[in-house]
Amino acid sequence: MTVFNLYIFDKFGTLLYYTEWNRTKKSGMTKEEEAKLTYGMLYSIKSFVAKISPHDPREGFLYYKTNRYALHYLETPSGLKFVLNTDTAALNVKELLQLMYAKVWVEYVVRDPLWTPGTPVTSELFQTKLDEFIKQSSIFGLRSI
C-alpha cells in the first residue's frame, strides 16, 4: 500500500504528534499506550544496535522491515524522533524524513509562537502542511503487489 502512519517523539519520549493515512490494522490499545510501546521498542532497538554493531555507529538504527511494513527512524541531534511506517518497497524515506523535519516541522512548529516545546502539537496549519507534504511525496502513491 502506501504510507501508513507517523509518530513524532521528543527526547523524553513524549508523543508530540501522531497521524495516520492508510492504516488497516489497529493495535487494540489506546493511542497513548501504543505510543509508549513504540517509543520503548525504539529505545531498546537503539541500545541493541549500539551493542551489536561491529564498528562505531554514527547514526545508528535506520529502519527495520517485516514482511508487511517497514519502520523508518530519524533522530535529530536534539533527540527529536520521527518514525514513519511505510510499505516495504518505499525508497529514500530517510531523505524524505529529513526534508519533512526541515520544511514542515521547523517551519510550522518550531516557528509557531503558540507552541510550547515538549507539548503535543495541535496547530492546524502544521497538520494540513504535513498532510500535503506526505501526499505529494513519491512514496505515497506507490502500490506494491
Binding site: F48, K51, F61, T66
Partner: protein
C-alpha cells in the same frame, strides 16, 4: 561480502548458538600529555571515553592498557589504580591504548533475549494485518537479517550493509541445523548447540559465501 556473526535463538528466546566471524578488532594507541584532553569515565568494571573523541578514539571505547601495562577493570596489572595514575602529572607523557569493547558471552545472551520482544512488538505494532516480526534491521554499520522457522527458531545473520537478501544463506543455515543438530542423538532441544560437525559445516558455508557470493552455493 562480510558476515560478522551468526546467532541462533531458540523458541523460548535463549541464545543456543553463536559464531563470530571476521569481527574487526578496533584498537588505537596514542601518546597523551598533561592534562588529559579526553574525558574518561571511571567505573569499577572499566574505564571508558565519555567525551571529546580524538582521531580514531571514539566515545564508548574502553581503556586497554597504559604504557603497555594491561588495565584490569579500574586497576592496572601491577596493582595501581588507573585514576590515580592518570591524574598524577609526573606520569606524563603517557601512552594509552583504547579499544571498542568486545561483547562477552553474557552480553550476547542478554542481547539475544532482548531481540525476542523486539521481534514480537514489531509484529504487534504493525499497521497492516498479519505482519511477521523483524526480518531485516539496518543501521549505518551493519544489517541484521532474521529468519524465523515455523517452529519458532530464529536464525540471525549480522552482515555488512548494502548486501541484498540473505534468504539463501539463512535457509542454508536452517538446512545445516536440521541435518547436523536435530539429527544428532546427543542434542536435546532448546539447549546450546555443541556439535562439531555443524560448526565446521557452517564455517565452510560462510567461507564459500564470503569468497564467491551466492552463485556457487551447492550442497
Amino acid at each position: 561480502m562480510i558476515i560478522y556473526g551468526v546467532y541462533i535463538v531458540s523458541k523460548s528466546g535463549g541464545l543456543i548458538f553463536n559464531l563470530d566471524n571476521n569481527v574487526p578488532r578496533i584498537e588505537h594507541e596514542k601518546s597523551f600529555t598533561y592534562p588529559l584532553d579526553i574525558v574518561l569515565d571511571y567505573d569499577s568494571k572499566k574505564v571508558t571515553v565519555a567525551f571529546n573523541k580524538k582521531e580514531s578514539i571514539n566515545v564508548g571505547h574502553v581503556l586497554v592498557s597504559v604504557n603497555g601495562i594491561l588495565v584490569n577493570g579500574a586497576t592496572l596489572a601491577d596493582g595501581r589504580n588507573v585514576k590515580t595514575v592518570l591524574e598524577a602529572e609526573e606520569n606524563y607523557p603517557v601512552n594509552l591504548k583504547f579499544a571498542r569493547p568486545k561483547m562477552t558471552t553474557n552480553e550476547k545472551i542478554f542481547l539475544a533475549s532482548m531481540f525476542y520482544p523486539l521481534f514480537a512488538i514489531a509484529s504487534q505494532l504493525s499497521p497492516e494485518p498479519k505482519s511477521s516480526g523483524i526480518e531485516l534491521l539496518e543501521s549505518d554499520t551493519f544489517t541484521l537479517h532474521c529468519f524465523q522457522t515455523l517452529t519458532g527458531v530464529k536464525f540471525i545473520v549480522v552482515s555488512e550493509v548494502g548486501l541484498g537478501s540473505m534468504d539463501m544463506l539463512l535457509r542454508k543455515i536452517y538446512e545445516l541445523y536440521a541435518d547436523y543438530v536435530l539429527k544428532n542423538p546427543f542434542y536435546s532441544l532448546e539447549m546450546p548447540i555443541r556439535c562439531e560437525l555443524f560448526d565446521s559445516k557452517l564455517q565452510t558455508l560462510l567461507e564459500i559465501i564470503e569468497k564467491t557470493g551466492f552463485n556457487n552455493l551447492d550442497k
